[in-house]
Protein backbone atom coordinates (compact mmCIF):
# COMPACT_ATOMS: atom_id res chain seq x y z
CA UNK A 1 0.00 0.00 0.00
CA UNK A 2 1.29 3.52 -0.90
CA UNK A 3 1.95 6.07 1.81
CA UNK A 4 -0.57 8.83 1.35
CA UNK A 5 0.94 10.82 4.18
CA UNK A 6 4.65 11.01 4.83
CA UNK A 7 6.00 13.25 7.61
CA UNK A 8 9.76 13.57 7.99
CA UNK A 9 11.43 15.27 10.90
CA UNK A 10 8.49 17.61 11.51
CA UNK A 11 8.88 20.15 14.28
CA UNK A 12 6.41 22.80 15.37
CA UNK A 13 6.63 25.14 18.30
CA UNK A 14 4.45 28.03 19.48
CA UNK A 15 5.16 31.18 21.45
CA UNK A 16 3.09 31.27 24.62
CA UNK A 17 3.59 34.10 27.10
CA UNK A 18 7.09 34.80 25.79
CA UNK A 19 8.06 31.15 26.00
CA UNK A 20 8.65 28.77 23.15
CA UNK A 21 6.61 25.62 23.61
CA UNK A 22 7.58 22.70 21.44
CA UNK A 23 4.48 20.84 20.27
CA UNK A 24 5.92 18.45 17.70
CA UNK A 25 9.51 17.41 18.00
CA UNK A 26 11.11 15.76 14.97
CA UNK A 27 8.09 13.63 14.12
CA UNK A 28 8.37 10.91 11.45
CA UNK A 29 5.11 9.27 10.45
CA UNK A 30 3.71 7.48 7.43
CA UNK A 31 0.08 6.72 6.81
CA UNK A 32 -1.43 4.59 4.09
CA UNK A 33 -4.11 5.53 1.62
CA UNK A 34 -7.55 4.06 2.23
CA UNK A 35 -7.09 3.49 5.96
CA UNK A 36 -8.99 4.84 8.95
CA UNK A 37 -6.60 6.17 11.57
CA UNK A 38 -7.37 7.27 15.08
CA UNK A 39 -4.84 9.76 16.45
CA UNK A 40 -4.78 9.47 20.21
CA UNK A 41 -2.88 10.93 23.09
CA UNK A 42 -3.27 13.14 26.15
CA UNK A 43 -4.09 16.84 25.90
CA UNK A 44 -1.14 18.85 24.62
CA UNK A 45 0.45 15.87 22.92
CA UNK A 46 0.24 17.61 19.54
CA UNK A 47 -2.69 15.74 17.94
CA UNK A 48 -4.53 18.77 16.59
CA UNK A 49 -1.29 20.44 15.52
CA UNK A 50 -0.38 17.32 13.56
CA UNK A 51 -3.84 17.24 11.99
CA UNK A 52 -3.52 20.92 11.02
CA UNK A 53 -0.12 20.32 9.43
CA UNK A 54 -1.38 17.34 7.40
CA UNK A 55 -4.42 19.39 6.32
CA UNK A 56 -2.33 22.36 5.21
CA UNK A 57 -3.91 24.65 7.80
CA UNK A 58 -0.55 25.21 9.46
CA UNK A 59 3.10 24.98 8.41
CA UNK A 60 5.94 23.12 10.15
CA UNK A 61 8.93 25.01 11.52
CA UNK A 62 11.11 22.37 9.91
CA UNK A 63 10.77 19.01 8.25
CA UNK A 64 8.61 17.82 5.38
CA UNK A 65 4.89 17.21 5.22
CA UNK A 66 4.22 15.19 2.09
CA UNK A 67 0.61 14.42 1.28
CA UNK A 68 -0.05 12.42 -1.88
CA UNK A 69 3.42 13.44 -3.05
CA UNK A 70 2.99 17.19 -2.48
CA UNK A 71 5.31 18.89 0.00
CA UNK A 72 2.93 21.27 1.73
CA UNK A 73 5.69 23.26 3.39
CA UNK A 74 6.72 24.62 -0.01
CA UNK A 75 3.31 25.69 -1.27
CA UNK A 76 2.47 29.42 -1.25
CA UNK A 77 -0.66 30.75 0.48
CA UNK A 78 -3.01 30.62 -2.49
CA UNK A 79 -1.60 27.31 -3.76
CA UNK A 80 -2.06 25.79 -0.31
CA UNK A 81 -5.68 27.04 -0.27
CA UNK A 82 -6.30 25.43 -3.66
CA UNK A 83 -4.61 22.24 -2.47
CA UNK A 84 -6.90 22.10 0.58
CA UNK A 85 -9.95 22.63 -1.60
CA UNK A 86 -8.92 19.78 -3.90
CA UNK A 87 -7.57 17.20 -1.45
CA UNK A 88 -8.93 17.57 2.07
CA UNK A 89 -12.28 17.51 3.81
CA UNK A 90 -12.39 18.80 7.39
CA UNK A 91 -14.74 17.75 10.17
CA UNK A 92 -14.45 19.84 13.33
CA UNK A 93 -15.51 19.16 16.89
CA UNK A 94 -17.83 22.18 16.97
CA UNK A 95 -19.29 21.35 13.50
CA UNK A 96 -18.38 24.83 12.24
CA UNK A 97 -21.28 25.23 9.90
CA UNK A 98 -21.98 28.76 8.72
CA UNK A 99 -25.11 29.72 10.67
CA UNK A 100 -26.59 32.00 8.01
CA UNK A 101 -26.59 29.25 5.38
CA UNK A 102 -28.91 26.25 5.02
CA UNK A 103 -27.53 22.71 5.18
CA UNK A 104 -27.50 22.59 1.39
CA UNK A 105 -25.70 25.93 1.08
CA UNK A 106 -23.12 24.85 3.65
CA UNK A 107 -22.39 21.76 1.57
CA UNK A 108 -22.35 23.87 -1.59
CA UNK A 109 -19.68 26.15 -0.11
CA UNK A 110 -16.57 24.07 -0.99
CA UNK A 111 -18.14 23.18 -4.33
CA UNK A 112 -17.99 26.87 -5.30
CA UNK A 113 -14.26 26.37 -5.67
CA UNK A 114 -14.70 23.65 -8.29
CA UNK A 115 -15.21 24.20 -12.01
CA UNK A 116 -18.55 22.35 -11.87
CA UNK A 117 -21.67 23.94 -13.28
CA UNK A 118 -24.27 25.28 -10.88
CA UNK A 119 -26.54 22.38 -11.61
CA UNK A 120 -23.76 19.81 -11.12
CA UNK A 121 -22.77 21.47 -7.85
CA UNK A 122 -26.33 21.22 -6.58
CA UNK A 123 -26.59 17.58 -7.63
CA UNK A 124 -23.34 16.75 -5.88
CA UNK A 125 -24.33 18.57 -2.70
CA UNK A 126 -27.71 16.87 -2.62
CA UNK A 127 -26.01 13.48 -3.16
CA UNK A 128 -23.65 14.17 -0.25
CA UNK A 129 -26.55 15.12 2.01
CA UNK A 130 -28.48 12.04 0.95
CA UNK A 131 -25.42 9.91 1.72
CA UNK A 132 -25.34 11.19 5.31
CA UNK A 133 -29.08 10.63 5.62
CA UNK A 134 -30.15 14.28 5.55
CA UNK A 135 -31.70 14.55 2.12
CA UNK A 136 -34.94 15.70 3.73
CA UNK A 137 -33.33 18.41 5.89
CA UNK A 138 -31.26 20.18 3.28
CA UNK A 139 -33.11 23.49 3.52
CA UNK A 140 -32.84 23.70 7.29
CA UNK A 141 -30.49 26.14 8.95
CA UNK A 142 -27.92 24.71 11.40
CA UNK A 143 -29.87 26.02 14.40
CA UNK A 144 -32.84 23.93 13.25
CA UNK A 145 -30.81 20.70 13.38
CA UNK A 146 -29.65 18.52 16.27
CA UNK A 147 -25.95 18.27 17.11
CA UNK A 148 -25.68 14.88 15.41
CA UNK A 149 -27.41 16.21 12.30
CA UNK A 150 -25.14 19.25 12.23
CA UNK A 151 -22.10 17.01 12.32
CA UNK A 152 -23.52 14.89 9.52
CA UNK A 153 -23.98 18.07 7.45
CA UNK A 154 -20.35 18.90 8.23
CA UNK A 155 -19.36 15.43 7.00
CA UNK A 156 -21.42 15.94 3.83
CA UNK A 157 -19.53 19.23 3.34
CA UNK A 158 -16.23 17.40 3.87
CA UNK A 159 -16.98 14.78 1.20
CA UNK A 160 -18.81 17.04 -1.26
CA UNK A 161 -15.73 17.70 -3.38
CA UNK A 162 -14.69 14.03 -3.22
CA UNK A 163 -11.38 14.67 -1.44
CA UNK A 164 -8.70 12.03 -0.95
CA UNK A 165 -8.39 12.68 2.74
CA UNK A 166 -10.86 13.41 5.52
CA UNK A 167 -9.45 14.98 8.67
CA UNK A 168 -11.70 14.90 11.71
CA UNK A 169 -10.79 16.70 14.92
CA UNK A 170 -12.75 15.22 17.82
CA UNK A 171 -15.83 14.84 15.59
CA UNK A 172 -17.90 13.33 18.40
CA UNK A 173 -16.62 15.53 21.21
CA UNK A 174 -19.82 17.61 21.36
CA UNK A 175 -22.27 14.74 20.77
CA UNK A 176 -24.19 12.31 22.95
CA UNK A 177 -23.31 8.64 22.66
CA UNK A 178 -25.99 7.65 20.19
CA UNK A 179 -25.31 10.62 17.88
CA UNK A 180 -21.59 9.98 18.23
CA UNK A 181 -22.05 6.37 17.17
CA UNK A 182 -24.07 7.42 14.14
CA UNK A 183 -21.33 9.85 13.08
CA UNK A 184 -18.60 7.27 13.61
CA UNK A 185 -20.60 4.69 11.66
CA UNK A 186 -20.85 7.21 8.86
CA UNK A 187 -17.10 7.89 8.84
CA UNK A 188 -16.40 4.15 8.81
CA UNK A 189 -18.76 3.69 5.86
CA UNK A 190 -17.08 6.49 3.95
CA UNK A 191 -13.79 4.71 4.51
CA UNK A 192 -15.08 1.30 3.50
CA UNK A 193 -17.49 2.13 0.72
CA UNK A 194 -15.87 5.21 -0.83
CA UNK A 195 -12.26 4.40 0.05
CA UNK A 196 -11.65 7.66 1.84
CA UNK A 197 -8.55 7.90 4.00
CA UNK A 198 -9.65 9.13 7.38
CA UNK A 199 -7.51 10.59 10.13
CA UNK A 200 -9.48 11.23 13.28
CA UNK A 201 -8.22 12.92 16.44
CA UNK A 202 -9.98 11.56 19.48
CA UNK A 203 -9.68 11.08 23.20
CA UNK A 204 -12.48 8.61 23.21
CA UNK A 205 -11.49 4.91 23.10
CA UNK A 206 -14.99 4.04 21.88
CA UNK A 207 -14.58 6.42 18.96
CA UNK A 208 -11.12 5.05 18.27
CA UNK A 209 -12.56 1.55 18.13
CA UNK A 210 -13.98 2.36 14.67
CA UNK A 211 -10.48 2.91 13.22
CA UNK A 212 -8.17 0.41 11.50
CA UNK A 213 -5.06 1.74 13.12
CA UNK A 214 -4.30 3.66 16.28
CA UNK A 215 -1.55 6.27 16.31
CA UNK A 216 -0.41 7.33 19.79
CA UNK A 217 1.30 10.66 20.34
CA UNK A 218 3.00 11.69 23.54
CA UNK A 219 4.62 15.07 24.17
CA UNK A 220 5.07 15.76 20.49
CA UNK A 221 6.65 12.46 19.68
CA UNK A 222 5.27 9.36 18.07
CA UNK A 223 4.45 6.77 20.73
CA UNK A 224 3.32 3.73 18.83
CA UNK A 225 1.24 2.74 15.83
CA UNK A 226 -0.87 -0.32 16.21
CA UNK A 227 -3.54 -2.16 14.36
CA UNK A 228 -6.87 -2.05 16.09
CA UNK A 229 -7.59 -5.58 17.15
CA UNK A 230 -11.01 -4.75 18.56
CA UNK A 231 -12.45 -2.84 15.66
CA UNK A 232 -16.17 -2.29 16.05
CA UNK A 233 -18.48 -3.68 13.42
CA UNK A 234 -20.42 -1.21 11.31
CA UNK A 235 -23.87 -1.79 9.91
CA UNK A 236 -22.54 -3.21 6.65
CA UNK A 237 -19.46 -4.99 7.95
CA UNK A 238 -18.90 -7.70 10.53
CA UNK A 239 -16.22 -7.27 13.19
Amino acid sequence: MDHLIDLRGVTRAYQRGGETVSVLDGLDLQMDAGSFYALMGPSGSGKTTLLNLIGGLDRPDSGEVLVDGTDLAHLGGSALSRWRADHVGFVFQGFNLLPVLSALDNVLLPLQLTPLSRRARHEQAERALALVGLGDRMHHKPRELSGGQEQRVAIARAIATDPTLILADEPTGDLDRSSADAVLELLARLNEELGKTILMVTHDPLAASFAHRLVHLDKGRLGRIEDNPERRPTAGRPA
Partner: protein, 383 residues
Protein backbone atom coordinates in the same frame (compact mmCIF):
# COMPACT_ATOMS: atom_id res chain seq x y z
CA UNK B 1 -23.10 38.79 1.62
CA UNK B 2 -26.86 39.36 1.61
CA UNK B 3 -27.35 36.51 4.07
CA UNK B 4 -24.71 37.91 6.39
CA UNK B 5 -26.49 41.25 6.34
CA UNK B 6 -29.82 39.55 7.01
CA UNK B 7 -28.32 37.62 9.93
CA UNK B 8 -28.51 40.80 12.03
CA UNK B 9 -31.54 42.62 10.61
CA UNK B 10 -31.76 45.27 13.34
CA UNK B 11 -28.09 46.20 13.04
CA UNK B 12 -28.29 46.18 9.26
CA UNK B 13 -31.39 48.37 9.21
CA UNK B 14 -29.94 50.83 11.73
CA UNK B 15 -26.59 51.11 9.97
CA UNK B 16 -28.15 51.23 6.51
CA UNK B 17 -30.61 53.80 7.83
CA UNK B 18 -27.82 56.02 9.10
CA UNK B 19 -26.13 55.85 5.69
CA UNK B 20 -29.52 56.64 4.11
CA UNK B 21 -29.93 59.74 6.26
CA UNK B 22 -26.35 60.86 5.67
CA UNK B 23 -26.64 60.55 1.89
CA UNK B 24 -30.05 62.22 1.90
CA UNK B 25 -28.61 65.12 3.90
CA UNK B 26 -25.57 65.28 1.63
CA UNK B 27 -27.79 65.46 -1.47
CA UNK B 28 -29.90 68.18 0.16
CA UNK B 29 -26.88 70.26 1.22
CA UNK B 30 -25.15 69.85 -2.12
CA UNK B 31 -28.29 70.88 -3.99
CA UNK B 32 -28.50 73.96 -1.77
CA UNK B 33 -24.84 74.87 -2.34
CA UNK B 34 -25.22 74.22 -6.07
CA UNK B 35 -28.29 76.47 -6.19
CA UNK B 36 -26.30 79.17 -4.41
CA UNK B 37 -23.26 78.96 -6.63
CA UNK B 38 -25.01 78.20 -9.91
CA UNK B 39 -26.44 81.72 -9.98
CA UNK B 40 -22.83 82.84 -10.19
CA UNK B 41 -21.75 80.14 -12.62
CA UNK B 42 -24.68 80.61 -14.98
CA UNK B 43 -24.54 84.39 -14.95
CA UNK B 44 -24.31 86.01 -18.35
CA UNK B 45 -21.15 87.71 -19.52
CA UNK B 46 -23.26 89.99 -21.71
CA UNK B 47 -24.88 91.80 -18.77
CA UNK B 48 -23.28 94.34 -16.45
CA UNK B 49 -24.68 95.76 -13.25
CA UNK B 50 -24.10 99.36 -12.23
CA UNK B 51 -24.61 100.11 -8.55
CA UNK B 52 -23.53 102.75 -6.07
CA UNK B 53 -19.88 102.38 -5.11
CA UNK B 54 -20.96 102.99 -1.50
CA UNK B 55 -23.50 100.21 -1.13
CA UNK B 56 -26.19 98.32 -2.89
CA UNK B 57 -28.57 99.99 -0.47
CA UNK B 58 -27.78 103.47 -1.79
CA UNK B 59 -29.81 104.54 -4.83
CA UNK B 60 -28.32 106.13 -7.95
CA UNK B 61 -29.79 109.24 -9.61
CA UNK B 62 -32.25 108.55 -12.39
CA UNK B 63 -30.31 110.86 -14.67
CA UNK B 64 -27.40 108.42 -14.78
CA UNK B 65 -29.31 106.30 -17.28
CA UNK B 66 -28.86 108.68 -20.22
CA UNK B 67 -25.14 109.11 -19.45
CA UNK B 68 -24.53 105.37 -19.22
CA UNK B 69 -26.26 104.85 -22.58
CA UNK B 70 -23.63 107.05 -24.21
CA UNK B 71 -20.79 104.64 -23.39
CA UNK B 72 -19.58 102.76 -26.42
CA UNK B 73 -20.47 99.08 -26.51
CA UNK B 74 -23.84 99.31 -24.77
CA UNK B 75 -26.98 98.08 -26.50
CA UNK B 76 -29.50 99.19 -23.86
CA UNK B 77 -29.96 99.95 -20.18
CA UNK B 78 -32.71 98.65 -17.90
CA UNK B 79 -33.60 100.26 -14.58
CA UNK B 80 -34.09 98.03 -11.52
CA UNK B 81 -35.46 99.33 -8.26
CA UNK B 82 -35.97 97.20 -5.17
CA UNK B 83 -39.53 97.65 -3.88
CA UNK B 84 -39.31 95.69 -0.64
CA UNK B 85 -43.03 95.14 0.03
CA UNK B 86 -45.02 92.15 1.18
CA UNK B 87 -48.21 90.37 0.17
CA UNK B 88 -50.96 90.82 2.80
CA UNK B 89 -48.72 89.80 5.73
CA UNK B 90 -45.03 90.38 6.40
CA UNK B 91 -44.39 86.64 6.41
CA UNK B 92 -45.45 86.57 2.74
CA UNK B 93 -42.25 88.10 1.56
CA UNK B 94 -40.85 87.78 -1.94
CA UNK B 95 -38.77 89.99 -4.20
CA UNK B 96 -40.44 92.80 -6.16
CA UNK B 97 -38.63 95.07 -8.60
CA UNK B 98 -39.67 98.08 -10.57
CA UNK B 99 -38.13 97.66 -14.04
CA UNK B 100 -38.31 98.94 -17.60
CA UNK B 101 -40.69 96.46 -19.24
CA UNK B 102 -39.54 97.31 -22.77
CA UNK B 103 -35.96 96.15 -22.08
CA UNK B 104 -36.46 93.70 -19.22
CA UNK B 105 -37.46 90.56 -21.13
CA UNK B 106 -35.09 91.05 -24.03
CA UNK B 107 -32.24 91.36 -21.52
CA UNK B 108 -33.05 87.84 -20.39
CA UNK B 109 -33.37 85.34 -23.21
CA UNK B 110 -33.34 82.70 -20.44
CA UNK B 111 -36.86 83.83 -19.47
CA UNK B 112 -39.98 82.71 -21.29
CA UNK B 113 -43.61 83.58 -20.81
CA UNK B 114 -45.72 80.56 -19.93
CA UNK B 115 -49.08 82.29 -19.56
CA UNK B 116 -50.49 85.75 -20.20
CA UNK B 117 -48.79 88.23 -22.48
CA UNK B 118 -45.56 90.15 -22.07
CA UNK B 119 -46.85 92.82 -24.46
CA UNK B 120 -49.82 93.38 -22.13
CA UNK B 121 -47.41 93.75 -19.22
CA UNK B 122 -45.17 96.14 -21.19
CA UNK B 123 -47.97 98.48 -22.15
CA UNK B 124 -49.88 98.44 -18.86
CA UNK B 125 -49.19 100.96 -16.09
CA UNK B 126 -50.11 98.80 -13.12
CA UNK B 127 -49.50 95.35 -14.55
CA UNK B 128 -46.96 92.90 -13.29
CA UNK B 129 -45.09 89.81 -14.39
CA UNK B 130 -44.61 87.02 -11.86
CA UNK B 131 -42.46 83.92 -11.73
CA UNK B 132 -43.86 80.40 -11.95
CA UNK B 133 -42.84 79.61 -8.37
CA UNK B 134 -44.78 82.61 -7.12
CA UNK B 135 -47.82 81.40 -9.02
CA UNK B 136 -47.47 77.94 -7.47
CA UNK B 137 -46.91 79.37 -4.00
CA UNK B 138 -49.89 81.75 -3.88
CA UNK B 139 -52.07 80.52 -6.74
CA UNK B 140 -51.94 83.87 -8.59
CA UNK B 141 -53.48 83.73 -12.06
CA UNK B 142 -53.35 86.07 -15.03
CA UNK B 143 -55.91 88.79 -14.38
CA UNK B 144 -55.64 88.58 -10.59
CA UNK B 145 -54.88 91.75 -8.69
CA UNK B 146 -52.03 91.27 -6.24
CA UNK B 147 -52.03 93.68 -3.26
CA UNK B 148 -48.50 94.54 -2.07
CA UNK B 149 -47.90 96.61 1.05
CA UNK B 150 -44.99 98.97 0.42
CA UNK B 151 -42.48 99.29 3.26
CA UNK B 152 -39.92 101.45 1.47
CA UNK B 153 -42.53 103.13 -0.69
CA UNK B 154 -45.80 103.13 1.28
CA UNK B 155 -48.83 104.72 -0.27
CA UNK B 156 -49.88 107.89 1.46
CA UNK B 157 -53.49 106.74 1.92
CA UNK B 158 -52.21 103.60 3.69
CA UNK B 159 -53.65 101.26 1.09
CA UNK B 160 -51.57 98.55 -0.55
CA UNK B 161 -50.25 98.88 -4.06
CA UNK B 162 -52.17 96.76 -6.55
CA UNK B 163 -50.57 95.02 -9.50
CA UNK B 164 -52.56 93.08 -12.06
CA UNK B 165 -50.92 89.84 -13.21
CA UNK B 166 -50.37 90.19 -16.95
CA UNK B 167 -47.75 87.50 -17.55
CA UNK B 168 -46.14 84.51 -15.85
CA UNK B 169 -42.54 83.57 -16.67
CA UNK B 170 -40.26 80.64 -16.14
CA UNK B 171 -36.50 80.50 -16.56
CA UNK B 172 -33.91 78.06 -17.83
CA UNK B 173 -31.08 79.61 -15.82
CA UNK B 174 -30.30 79.36 -12.14
CA UNK B 175 -29.08 82.97 -12.36
CA UNK B 176 -32.70 84.12 -12.44
CA UNK B 177 -35.21 83.02 -9.87
CA UNK B 178 -38.86 82.25 -10.51
CA UNK B 179 -40.14 83.82 -7.35
CA UNK B 180 -40.04 87.52 -8.25
CA UNK B 181 -42.68 90.07 -9.19
CA UNK B 182 -41.71 92.70 -11.76
CA UNK B 183 -43.75 95.83 -12.35
CA UNK B 184 -43.16 99.00 -14.43
CA UNK B 185 -40.72 101.34 -12.72
CA UNK B 186 -42.60 104.30 -14.20
CA UNK B 187 -45.67 103.42 -12.09
CA UNK B 188 -43.53 103.80 -8.96
CA UNK B 189 -41.87 106.98 -10.20
CA UNK B 190 -45.16 108.60 -11.21
CA UNK B 191 -46.75 107.67 -7.89
CA UNK B 192 -43.92 109.26 -5.91
CA UNK B 193 -43.70 112.31 -8.14
CA UNK B 194 -47.49 112.63 -8.14
CA UNK B 195 -47.55 112.60 -4.34
CA UNK B 196 -49.54 109.43 -3.80
CA UNK B 197 -46.59 107.50 -2.35
CA UNK B 198 -43.74 108.20 0.00
CA UNK B 199 -40.12 107.70 -0.96
CA UNK B 200 -37.42 109.06 -3.24
CA UNK B 201 -37.11 108.44 -6.93
CA UNK B 202 -33.85 106.63 -7.52
CA UNK B 203 -32.44 103.52 -9.07
CA UNK B 204 -30.98 100.59 -7.16
CA UNK B 205 -29.07 99.19 -10.11
CA UNK B 206 -28.83 99.74 -13.82
CA UNK B 207 -28.66 96.58 -15.88
CA UNK B 208 -26.46 97.15 -18.91
CA UNK B 209 -26.81 94.90 -21.95
CA UNK B 210 -23.64 94.84 -24.00
CA UNK B 211 -23.44 94.87 -27.76
CA UNK B 212 -22.21 91.55 -29.21
CA UNK B 213 -18.43 91.52 -29.13
CA UNK B 214 -18.13 94.34 -26.60
CA UNK B 215 -15.44 93.89 -23.97
CA UNK B 216 -17.19 93.76 -20.53
CA UNK B 217 -14.06 94.88 -18.68
CA UNK B 218 -13.52 97.89 -20.90
CA UNK B 219 -17.20 98.94 -20.80
CA UNK B 220 -17.34 98.54 -17.00
CA UNK B 221 -14.22 100.68 -16.63
CA UNK B 222 -15.65 103.32 -18.93
CA UNK B 223 -18.90 103.54 -16.90
CA UNK B 224 -17.01 103.78 -13.61
CA UNK B 225 -14.80 106.50 -15.10
CA UNK B 226 -17.87 108.43 -16.20
CA UNK B 227 -18.90 109.04 -12.60
CA UNK B 228 -15.44 109.05 -11.09
CA UNK B 229 -15.83 112.68 -10.07
CA UNK B 230 -19.33 112.29 -8.68
CA UNK B 231 -21.83 113.39 -7.81
CA UNK B 232 -22.07 109.75 -6.85
CA UNK B 233 -19.43 107.17 -7.78
CA UNK B 234 -20.58 103.86 -9.21
CA UNK B 235 -19.29 100.33 -9.27
CA UNK B 236 -19.86 98.33 -12.43
CA UNK B 237 -19.48 94.58 -12.32
CA UNK B 238 -20.30 91.62 -14.46
CA UNK B 239 -23.47 89.73 -13.55
CA UNK B 240 -21.32 86.89 -12.18
CA UNK B 241 -19.47 89.22 -9.82
CA UNK B 242 -22.73 90.88 -8.82
CA UNK B 243 -24.24 87.46 -7.99
CA UNK B 244 -21.09 86.50 -6.09
CA UNK B 245 -21.40 89.65 -3.95
CA UNK B 246 -25.02 88.80 -3.31
CA UNK B 247 -24.09 85.27 -2.18
CA UNK B 248 -21.26 86.58 -0.02
CA UNK B 249 -23.72 88.87 1.77
CA UNK B 250 -25.05 85.67 3.39
CA UNK B 251 -21.59 84.90 4.80
CA UNK B 252 -19.73 81.80 3.68
CA UNK B 253 -22.85 79.68 3.52
CA UNK B 254 -21.47 77.18 0.97
CA UNK B 255 -18.49 76.45 3.24
CA UNK B 256 -20.75 76.07 6.25
CA UNK B 257 -23.07 73.67 4.44
CA UNK B 258 -20.16 71.68 3.04
CA UNK B 259 -18.64 71.46 6.52
CA UNK B 260 -21.91 70.11 7.95
CA UNK B 261 -22.10 67.54 5.16
CA UNK B 262 -18.48 66.54 5.71
CA UNK B 263 -18.98 66.16 9.47
CA UNK B 264 -22.06 63.99 8.96
CA UNK B 265 -20.20 61.74 6.52
CA UNK B 266 -17.27 61.49 8.91
CA UNK B 267 -19.58 60.40 11.75
CA UNK B 268 -21.34 57.87 9.55
CA UNK B 269 -17.99 56.49 8.45
CA UNK B 270 -17.14 55.65 12.07
CA UNK B 271 -20.59 54.10 12.65
CA UNK B 272 -20.10 52.00 9.53
CA UNK B 273 -16.55 51.06 10.50
CA UNK B 274 -17.80 49.96 13.92
CA UNK B 275 -20.49 47.79 12.33
CA UNK B 276 -18.03 46.15 9.98
CA UNK B 277 -15.47 45.56 12.72
CA UNK B 278 -18.18 43.89 14.80
CA UNK B 279 -19.30 41.84 11.80
CA UNK B 280 -15.71 40.84 11.06
CA UNK B 281 -15.02 39.80 14.66
CA UNK B 282 -18.28 37.89 14.98
CA UNK B 283 -17.47 35.91 11.89
CA UNK B 284 -13.87 35.08 12.76
CA UNK B 285 -14.75 31.38 13.07
CA UNK B 286 -16.65 31.45 9.75
CA UNK B 287 -13.61 33.07 8.18
CA UNK B 288 -11.47 30.24 9.56
CA UNK B 289 -13.90 27.68 8.14
CA UNK B 290 -13.88 29.34 4.72
CA UNK B 291 -10.10 29.38 4.70
CA UNK B 292 -9.97 25.73 5.81
CA UNK B 293 -12.31 24.83 2.96
CA UNK B 294 -9.88 26.40 0.50
CA UNK B 295 -11.10 29.95 0.05
CA UNK B 296 -8.09 32.20 -0.46
CA UNK B 297 -7.20 35.25 1.62
CA UNK B 298 -8.22 37.47 -1.30
CA UNK B 299 -11.71 35.94 -1.48
CA UNK B 300 -12.20 36.40 2.26
CA UNK B 301 -11.01 40.01 1.98
CA UNK B 302 -13.39 40.69 -0.91
CA UNK B 303 -16.24 39.07 0.98
CA UNK B 304 -16.01 41.53 3.90
CA UNK B 305 -15.27 44.50 1.67
CA UNK B 306 -18.22 43.56 -0.53
CA UNK B 307 -20.51 43.32 2.46
CA UNK B 308 -19.54 46.80 3.58
CA UNK B 309 -20.01 48.17 0.06
CA UNK B 310 -23.34 46.44 -0.33
CA UNK B 311 -24.68 47.87 2.92
CA UNK B 312 -23.47 51.37 2.08
CA UNK B 313 -24.75 51.27 -1.46
CA UNK B 314 -28.15 50.01 -0.34
CA UNK B 315 -28.35 52.76 2.30
CA UNK B 316 -26.85 55.36 -0.02
CA UNK B 317 -29.09 54.37 -2.92
CA UNK B 318 -32.14 54.64 -0.68
CA UNK B 319 -30.92 58.04 0.58
CA UNK B 320 -30.35 59.40 -2.91
CA UNK B 321 -33.64 57.87 -4.05
CA UNK B 322 -35.47 59.51 -1.16
CA UNK B 323 -33.88 62.87 -2.01
CA UNK B 324 -35.04 62.49 -5.61
CA UNK B 325 -38.49 61.41 -4.45
CA UNK B 326 -39.05 64.49 -2.30
CA UNK B 327 -37.28 66.85 -4.73
CA UNK B 328 -40.49 68.51 -5.90
CA UNK B 329 -41.59 69.19 -2.32
CA UNK B 330 -38.18 70.55 -1.38
CA UNK B 331 -38.19 72.80 -4.44
CA UNK B 332 -41.47 74.34 -3.34
CA UNK B 333 -40.02 75.08 0.10
CA UNK B 334 -36.58 76.18 -1.06
CA UNK B 335 -37.26 78.05 -4.28
CA UNK B 336 -37.78 81.44 -2.65
CA UNK B 337 -34.33 81.47 -1.06
CA UNK B 338 -32.54 79.08 -3.40
CA UNK B 339 -33.85 79.34 -6.94
CA UNK B 340 -32.55 76.52 -9.09
CA UNK B 341 -32.60 74.04 -6.17
CA UNK B 342 -32.56 70.59 -7.76
CA UNK B 343 -31.40 67.06 -6.93
CA UNK B 344 -29.67 66.59 -10.27
CA UNK B 345 -27.76 63.58 -11.57
CA UNK B 346 -24.45 65.01 -10.36
CA UNK B 347 -25.84 65.39 -6.82
CA UNK B 348 -27.15 61.82 -6.84
CA UNK B 349 -23.74 60.76 -8.15
CA UNK B 350 -21.96 62.59 -5.32
CA UNK B 351 -24.27 60.93 -2.77
CA UNK B 352 -23.67 57.47 -4.17
CA UNK B 353 -19.95 58.22 -4.51
CA UNK B 354 -19.79 59.18 -0.83
CA UNK B 355 -21.57 55.93 0.09
CA UNK B 356 -19.09 54.03 -2.08
CA UNK B 357 -16.11 55.69 -0.41
CA UNK B 358 -17.51 55.08 3.10
CA UNK B 359 -18.27 51.47 2.22
CA UNK B 360 -14.78 50.93 0.84
CA UNK B 361 -12.97 52.58 3.75
CA UNK B 362 -15.14 50.85 6.37
CA UNK B 363 -14.62 47.45 4.73
CA UNK B 364 -10.87 47.74 4.23
CA UNK B 365 -9.87 47.36 7.89
CA UNK B 366 -12.01 44.32 8.76
CA UNK B 367 -11.27 42.78 5.37
CA UNK B 368 -7.54 43.25 5.84
CA UNK B 369 -7.70 41.75 9.32
CA UNK B 370 -9.62 38.72 8.01
CA UNK B 371 -7.20 38.36 5.14
CA UNK B 372 -4.23 38.21 7.51
CA UNK B 373 -5.69 35.56 9.84
CA UNK B 374 -4.34 32.04 9.43
CA UNK B 375 -7.06 29.36 9.33
CA UNK B 376 -5.82 27.94 12.63
CA UNK B 377 -5.81 31.33 14.36
CA UNK B 378 -9.26 32.18 13.00
CA UNK B 379 -10.74 28.84 14.08
CA UNK B 380 -9.15 29.10 17.53
CA UNK B 381 -10.12 32.76 18.01
CA UNK B 382 -13.68 32.12 16.89
CA UNK B 383 -14.39 29.40 19.47
Amino acid sequence: MFRNLLAHPVRTVLTGGSVLLAVFLLCFLRATVTALTSSVEQASTQRLWVQSAVSLLVDLPLAYESKIKQVDGIEWVCKWQWFGGYYKEESNFFAQFGVDPETMLKSYPEMEIVSGSYEEFAKSRTGCMIGLDLQRRYGFKVGDRVPIVGKIFPRKDGSPWEFEVKAVYRTTSAAIDQGTLYFPFDYLRESIEGGSAWGDVGIGVFLVKLRPGADPTRVAAAIDLLFDRGPQRVQTTTEAEFSRQFVSMMGNVPLLLQSIGGAVLFAIFFAMLNTMLMAGRERTRDIGVMKALGFTDAVVFRSLLGESLLLCLLGGGAGAGLAKLVEAGLQRVMSAQFPGFAIDAATVGVGLGAALVIGTLAGLGPGWRARGLTPVAALREGI
